[in-house]
Symmetry: C2
Subunit: 311 residues, 2 copies
Amino acid sequence: MTLLDRLFNGDRLALARVITWLENDPDRRERLMSVLFSRTGKARRIGVTGPPGAGKSTLIDRLIVRFRLQGFTVGAVAVDPTSPFTGGALLGDRLRMQSLWSDPDVFIRSLADRNHAGGLSPATADVMTALEAAGKQVILVETVGVGQTTLDIADLADTTMVVLTPESGDSVQAMKAGLMEVADILVVNKDDRTGASHFASELRNVLEMRHNESGWRPPVLRASARDDTGIEAVYEQLNTHLAFLSQSDRLYQRRLRQSRAAITRALSEEMRRKVVSHPDYDTLIDGLCVSVARREKTPQDAARTVMARTA
Amino acid sequence: MTLLDRLFNGDRLALARVITWLENDPDRRERLMSVLFSRTGKARRIGVTGPPGAGKSTLIDRLIVRFRLQGFTVGAVAVDPTSPFTGGALLGDRLRMQSLWSDPDVFIRSLADRNHAGGLSPATADVMTALEAAGKQVILVETVGVGQTTLDIADLADTTMVVLTPESGDSVQAMKAGLMEVADILVVNKDDRTGASHFASELRNVLEMRHNESGWRPPVLRASARDDTGIEAVYEQLNTHLAFLSQSDRLYQRRLRQSRAAITRALSEEMRRKVVSHPDYDTLIDGLCVSVARREKTPQDAARTVMARTA
């Protein structure tokens, strides 16, 4: 049986191997993607974002357990270096950790390393593709919701959940950070902390004032992922949002949007690859760096020179 | 007197107007940059990064006061939506705030909006160029040090300062986030909090173990920007690092690196612009989105189709 056949059968080692190739081996990636991609489009894709330390990973751990109880296979991609997946490894919670990591129908991949520290990396979409091709029915992707992210999480997910804590600052700041813009569901985590109730009300007020053309009003839920409270309501809202999307062509519209984002990403990569692989590129760029450092040329002039010479 | 002449004379309104054009008007930007860019290359560029809430903006406020006391003109670009510049607007500190914001030789620009929420935006480098062309001798740029940033702060700054707090988590996590990699100077801010001393020692230990080919060992300093303590030592280390760079050709090497990054950024923009402005682009991409959403084509195939048709 080939490696890909093993992957299609849900073999964890095959999946891990393929993901590593996707991340590190551009030539193999090309061929793999054409096979894997055609097997996708069915899974639910759920994005989870928010500031570092908001408890996103713990919340995802809790949700994975719910999805498993309903019989769904689950894949998760984590890209927040400040809150790595615990796999449920909370204090006094060792047993469940064991079960989550050893469950053959759960696959968790952390992309948190210094090369893509926190935000969505170009590899994120590929890893999600591999997880789905390996038969995962629910794909969760976690990202840090501050910092410019070239890839918007809403371009990868059908449902985007924003996790905040009472300390996240006031709702105006949350809006500023663009988090409110992408939220289909808002979760105020660590709701035992001071100000949780006030903060949730504030968020609701901000949402009330917003124009909402989609017909979906994002719910604001309170939870404590650590204490496993409020998670049922979050799980239910995920299902409610999926049902909402499935009405008329909303899900298809989101998939079109995801496709557009994927093409745009691929376009940047392909164009860059074409230029960089030109035999004159290295010499050319070295000379242009000197001209730009001396302010004899603007970076824009230099870029046009590169394009003209490598066309 | 033209707007640009007024900018070269340090006129604040002219500078504000030009920055707005750089951000929003691609055609004007092109022409402006070719004039502004040739007037740069002399200013000190200092990058300040770290997690949200680490007190970066307050520290920058404090440093601006020091630079002003030494007679330097200062420009600052803030891109952290979670800690906007106070201009010194701390409790009981209203007077100094007034003086900083009304000082004609200080110009602070916040880029923190939902379009580039936190990280370095493509506009950041342009704004720094405008600030220097307007005669600012020290340019400070603040960014959030989590989340994937397409632009690395070290590609914009001669000296990169990383600001952490005792709560930032252990030093291993700081390493993971890639912050240690870029730090020329480390500041443990809010050093009145529990664990500050231990955290600083830990950071020093991590740095000890690291291979350091540049000959510069990043100092770890403790400060409390809010209480204005420890700032002198930070200011001194900034000067020490500048002196270090000025030995042999280190500063020039950093400028070459900045130039390379600027060309790479311009190249992506120019290539994208060329494709997107093609008359067939919109129709083409709409059709390809459908093919990708239906999994008939991979995003890579679609990207190559776009390149072939718009070449």
